[in-house]
């Protein structure tokens, strides 16, 4: 893998934007930073993290999957037509925080694995060069280090960048990253890795130490499942689902058809396990009838089921969004402590 430096962030972004790929990067709009298609001059650097997680770039809130309409030739029959897949463009995503990149990697293992592949995700995710921007000044709610990550983490990224004066230090992490940077002009080779180590240590030192999840991860599922603290946490949970909408690893969706007299569109929308409706069966039976089951599901999923299914990778990446936004201050760190008691 290679390392580069650039003297001027803007010229780097201009080069990236001129690569033939669409540039997605953090930018500020209405006082909030979001990942969006922007011109290089509007890319933001003075942000802790994007307001929403970057998952919507690969898994949008509403994704139109296919359309169907009545077959004029054959009464009673319908013609199906995929929507959108062919419109997906190669992208370069700049400015992903390492925690979020790690979150996307968790999602990636859900949407593509040995059992099935989601073409919408795959096309977008694999079609994107993901350039991370390391956190040199982590925020008050950040705890990536507590869940095995780092402000300079590399999981899920093709390139890791860090701010170096007016310029950037860059380190490629994958062949795709290598290839992308190779094609750009204005990059100087070397001069990044050494500095990065020091910055990484400094940043990590400002973050909390690891959560002790060992006990929770070692214990049988049902032991954790039956712990008494769930009800107590659920008592104050509103089931508002804000945590799931903001979580970079939450990936649940609901497929809906919308129709008119001529045909219809099939779309998938973000869904949330906090919702009563999420698990209701056609029969009317609901296996997660109360808040307690739903709250337990979310935390078990993050801290127990994902690690079980994804070879120990934690389902929480410590971005801190849920801690910041939860209106009733349900703090996943505290839940993790409860689970490990």
């Amino acid at each position: 893998m290679a390392e580069y430096t650039v003297k001027d962030k803007l010229s780097f972004l201009k080069a990236a934007a001129g690569s033939g790929r669409r540039l997605l990067a953090p930018s500020s709009k209405d006082g909030r930073v979001r990942l969006a298609e922007v011109t290089p001059d509007r890319v933001a650097f003075d942000y802790l993290n994007t307001h929403l997680s970057p998952k919507d770039a690969f898994f949008p809130q509403t994704e139109k999957m296919l359309a169907f309409h009545k077959d004029a030739a054959k009464p009673g029959a319908f013609v199906y037509q995929p929507l959108g897949l062919d419109k997906i463009q190669p992208t370069v995503v700049f400015g992903l925080r390492p925690c979020d990149a790690r979150g996307l990697a968790v999602c990636d293992r859900v949407f593509q694995n040995d059992r099935f592949t989601d073409p919408y995700w795959k096309t977008k995710y694999e079609g994107a060069v993901k350039i991370g921007l390391a956190c040199q000044a982590p925020g008050p709610n950040c705890f990536c280090t507590a869940v095995g990550g780092s402000p300079f983490g590399e999981d899920g990224l093709d390139v890791l960048a860090f701010t170096k004066g007016e310029g950037l230090g860059l380190k490629t992490l994958t062949p795709a990253g290598d290839e992308f940077l190779k094609g750009l002009s204005g990059l100087e080779s070397g001069g990044a890795a050494g500095e990065m180590d020091g910055l990484k240590k400094a940043a990590e030192s400002r973050l909390p130490g690891p959560l002790d999840l060992a006990k929770a991860q070692a214990a049988p599922v049902m032991e954790i499942y039956n712990q008494p603290h769930w009800k107590e946490t659920a008592d104050r949970c509103l089931n508002c689902g804000t945590c799931t909408f903001f979580c970079p690893t939450c990936h649940c969706f609901d497929i809906q058809d919308e129709e008119n007299e001529r045909g219809g569109v099939r779309m998938r929308n973000w869904d949330t396990c906090m919702s009563w409706l999420y698990t209701i069966h056609g029969s009317g039976h609901n296996p997660r009838p109360t808040k307690t089951e739903r709250v337990r599901q979310r935390f078990m999923h993050k801290l127990k089921y994902i690690p079980l299914k994804q070879g120990g990778a934690c389902g929480c990446v410590g971005c801190g969004r849920c801690v910041q936004h939860c209106p009733v201050n349900i703090d996943i760190r505290a839940v993790a402590v409860d689970m490990s008691k």
Binding site: T62, P140, L238, G241, F246, M267
Partner: protein
């Protein structure tokens, strides 16, 4: 009241007393949050639990939202809006009055984190408060702001800062009353051309994620199945379609009409900081004007959409 510590002490004492007297099996209040600008609803069942109660300006929810069908006797450490919402729960048969004990607290208003962040751009690592100010600390700096300058918008026009008339017991001093919402901005907007009004209201909700945190936080939204979750017929699309989203907000506001106590929990819970109350305020103004009704003002009131007067005015009807 001389200090926040005294008030906290009084709250804890009152809570313990309510448990000891058998007036309550559980006391609803708040405890300190684990992150800046947060507070956690706290449900105390033992005298020890009561020790965690604090007065906070960072409550983002309305404790009355927990009342519907809550088993057993509850003491509610209530701000004015929470007391009014509790009245609504009782009036709407969601919680029996005899199981409710209201410990009212004079309230100077909740702090809007966005307003603080607009004033203080440096990363804030710690937030504390006393009676009238909030204290901020960052990397090597501290600062203070008067609460009155960074209040949540709903708190700036609160008509029930001191819920004396609703509380079974009052703590803290009276909070000086504020002028009620005069809806001047809405009146000005009403004079604008339709396109501008539509652009304004659609613009408000353009970022809505349809997460329904507003609904979940709202003490009025206790329906077992919300109209947006209707499936037979499913008449409201689930996507981020602008009209579906707009419809959700319009109808939710309609459902809150004559019931909303302006507690602001919807806006405080909204992770996209949408000014949701603009929709509610439209109807609040109308309810006050047409029926002189103030939700949650008395235990025996009839919400305006459950009653009528034969001579109700409706000039627009041909």
């Amino acid at each position: 009241m001389t200090s926040l510590a005294d008030l906290n002490q009084n709250i804890q004492t009152a809570a313990r007393r309510a448990l000891a007297d058998g007036r309550a099996e559980v006391v609803f209040g708040y405890r300190q949050g684990t992150a800046p600008f947060t507070a956690a609803p706290h449900f105390a069942r033992t005298p020890e639990d009561c020790g965690q109660f604090v007065w906070t300006s960072f409550a983002r929810v309305n404790l009355a939202a927990y009342l519907p069908k809550y088993p057993g006797k509850v003491a509610l450490i209530a701000r004015g809006c929470e007391a009014r919402s509790a009245v609504g729960q009782v009036v709407e048969s969601q919680f029996p009055r005899e199981n409710l004990y209201v410990i009212g607290v004079g309230c100077q208003g909740m702090v809007d984190p966005e307003a603080v962040l607009a004033r203080e751009k440096r990363p804030i690592r710690e937030v504390t408060e006393d009676l009238t100010t909030i204290n901020l600390a960052g990397d090597g700096w501290t600062a203070s702001l008067p609460k009155a300058e960074v209040l949540r918008r709903n708190c700036k026009t609160c008509v029930c800062r001191t819920p004396k008339d609703l509380a079974d017991e009052m703590l803290g001093g009276d909070a000086p009353p504020l002028p009620a919402d005069d809806f001047a901005d809405l009146k000005a907007l009403a004079a604008k051309p339709p396109q501008e009004k539509m652009a304004y209201f659609k613009g408000l909700v353009k970022d809505c994620l349809r997460c329904y945190a507003c609904r979940q936080a709202c003490p009025l939204c206790y329906c077992p199945v919300c109209f947006v979750d209707e499936t037979r017929p499913q008449w409201l699309g689930k996507s981020n379609d602008a009209m579906d989203t707009f419809t959700f907000h319009l109808l939710r506001a309609f459902h809150c009409a004559g019931r909303c106590t302006s507690c602001g929990a919807c806006e405080a819970a909204c992770p996209m900081d949408i000014k949701l109350r603009e929709f509610n305020r439209l109807l609040e103004e109308e309810v006050q004007k047409d029926w002189q009704f103030v939700p949650g003002a008395s235990w025996d009131q009839k919400p305006p959409l459950t009653t009528y007067r034969p001579d109700d005015e409706a000039d627009f009807i041909k």
